[in-house]
Amino acid sequence: MGHHDLHQAELPPLAIQFPRSDGSRVPYEVFSSPAIYEREQERIYRGPTWNFVALDVEISQPGDFKSTYVGDTPVVVTRTPDGSLAAWVNRCAHRGAKLCTLPRGNATSHACLYHQWNFDSRGNLTGIPFRRGQKQMAGMPPDFDMKAHGLQKLRVDSYGGLIFASFSDTVAALPDYIGNEMRPWIDRIMHKPIVYLGCTRQFVNANWKLYFENVKDPYHASLLHLFHTTFNILRVGMKARSLPDAGHGLHSIITATRIEDDNSSAAYTAQDIRSMNEGFHLEDESVLGYVHEYEEATTNHIQSIFPQLVLQQIHNSLVARQLLPKAPDQFELVFHFFGYADDTPELRELRIKQANLVGPAGYISMEDGYATELVQRGSLREGKSSSVLDMGLSQPDQQDTLITESLIRRFWTGYQALMAL
C-alpha cells in the first residue's frame, strides 16, 4: 500500500514544522496542540483508516453489542440477527442523545431514553412514538422518511477475529489495509479459536502518539523496564525483528526470539523457566514460564496496526490493546486479554499469572505510561523543540535489531503524509 492510498483533500498547513523529512526530528507541539488533535480526529480516525474496536468473540451472539470509540467518537459495534457485524455512531438520529448507555449487552433493538426512537442492531430507524399522532394531534410529517434517519453507520469488518471500523468510504479493504507484511503476524497469533478473558484499562495523562512511539521502540525495552535486567531475563543476542509495513509505515511488528542454541535440551521445550544468575531472583519463576505454542519460540511480539490496535504476545500472555485518544494530553488503553479455546487448565492459569507482566501493574510495562507522562510534562513549553530519533539512522534498512528507532521514524513520515503536515 502506498502513500496515495491515504490521500485526502489538501488542507492549509498548520504552523508546525518537522525540521527533517526523514521522521528523525519531531516537534513537541504535536503532542499538545489542540489544532493537531482536532485534525487527527478528522484525518486519521474519521479518515482512511481501520480502527480496532473489539474481538469477534466479545460479540459472538446475535444481538450482542459493545460500546467503544473510534478516536474520541463513541460508537457501538453489534452482531446483527443474521450474524454479520454492524457499527454506528452512538448518537440518536433524533436529537443527538447518546443512544446506547450500556458498555455491553445483548439487544435486537436500541431505544433512545429521551423519546424512545427505536433502532435495530444495524442502526436503521424502526420506530417513532406517536409518529402518526394521536386523535387530533399531528404526528411526524406524512413524508417523513424513516430510511433517511437511521444512525450514522460505519464500515465494519473483521480479520483474524479482530473487528475494525472505519468512517471512510475510500479506505482499502481491511486485509489490504493491514497489508502483506503485517497479515502473517496477525495470522500467527490468531491462528485458532480464541476465548475472551476480560479487559483492564489504564488512563494516562499524555498524548496518544507517545504511546504509539513506545510500541515502535525496541530500544527502550531493556533500559526502561529494569525488571528485565534486575532478574536477568533479557538475553543478549536474542533474534530480533523490527519491521514496518511496506507502504505508509504506520504499522509495525517487533519480535524477540530466543535462539535455539540456548535451549540445547529437547526437554527444555515443553515448559521453560529462565534461570537466574547472582543477585536478585524471583521465588516463583513460573510467572516467566513459556509454553511453546508457535513455530518460532518468539517471547515478545508487539504489533501495531495504526491507529487503534497493538497486538501483543509476551510469553503466553495474549492481548489486543486498544489505544484511544481522549484529549491532546490524555489517552486510554484497553487491554483485551484472550486465550485459545483449546487451552489446558494449566496453560489458562499461566496466562492469568502472566497478566502480571503487562498492563498498568505489569512488571515489564508499568513504566510505559509513566514515561509518556514524563515526555508530556517535560516538553509542554518546548513546542518548537524537537525530539532526536537517530538510533540506527545510518542503517535505515536494518531490521534484525532491537537497537533502532527506525520504526518510529517511519511512523512519523507516514503520520505527516496522512495529516498533510
Partner: protein, 160 residues
C-alpha cells in the same frame, strides 16, 4: 457463637484489616505478604470482569512467594513516581464459614498522593476475603480487591 464471641471475632478481624492497610500506607511493604498464608491468593480485578465471571485482573498472586516477588520488584526493579497511599476502609461484614474459615467483605478507597503533594481518589472498590486462624494469628487465605475505578490512573506499583 454468643453475641460477645461474635463481637470479639469482628474486632479481631477488624484489627487484621487495620494492620493490612497500615503496612501498605506506611511503607512497610515487606510485611504485606506476611499477612497471608503460604498458599494465600491475592488478586486485583476490575468490577466489570468480576461481574462477568472473567478472570483477568492487574495483579495475581497464588502464593506468598509471588507476593514477595511483587514487593521485591516494586522496591528494586520498577520505576514510578514516589507516592503514598491512604486507605479508607468501611463496612466490614464477617461471615463465619466451614472449618474455621471466615469470609469478610469491606469497602475501600485509596487516596494516592504524589511527591508534589497532589492527592487523587486513586481507586474505590471492595475487598472479598477469606481468613483463617493460624499459630501466628488471623491470616488471609484469599483476598480479592474488586475495583470500581475501572480506568487505572497511569500505573499501579503498590498493592491495594
Amino acid at each position: 457463637m454468643t453475641p460477645l464471641d461474635q463481637m470479639l471475632l469482628w474486632f479481631e478481624l477488624y484489627s487484621l484489616q487495620e494492620r493490612y492497610i497500615s503496612v501498605l500506607d506506611n511503607d512497610q511493604l515487606e510485611a504485606w505478604p506476611e499477612l497471608f498464608t503460604a498458599d494465600g491468593h491475592y488478586e486485583i480485578v476490575p468490577k466489570e470482569n468480576a461481574d462477568a465471571g472473567l478472570p483477568m485482573g492487574i495483579i495475581y498472586c497464588n502464593n506468598q512467594g509471588m507476593m514477595r516477588d511483587r514487593i521485591l520488584s516494586t522496591r528494586e526493579a520498577n520505576l514510578y513516581e514516589p507516592q503514598t497511599y491512604r486507605h479508607l476502609v468501611s463496612g466490614l461484614i464477617i461471615t463465619p464459614a466451614d472449618q474455621g474459615m471466615v469470609k469478610m467483605s469491606a469497602n475501600y478507597v485509596v487516596i494516592r498522593t504524589n511527591q508534589e503533594g497532589d492527592s487523587i481518589i486513586y481507586q474505590a472498590g471492595r475487598y472479598e476475603d477469606q481468613v483463617i486462624n493460624t499459630a501466628e494469628g488471623w491470616r488471609y487465605r484469599s483476598k480479592r480487591a474488586i475495583y470500581d475505578t475501572l480506568r487505572v490512573p497511569t500505573l499501579m506499583a503498590i498493592p491495594v
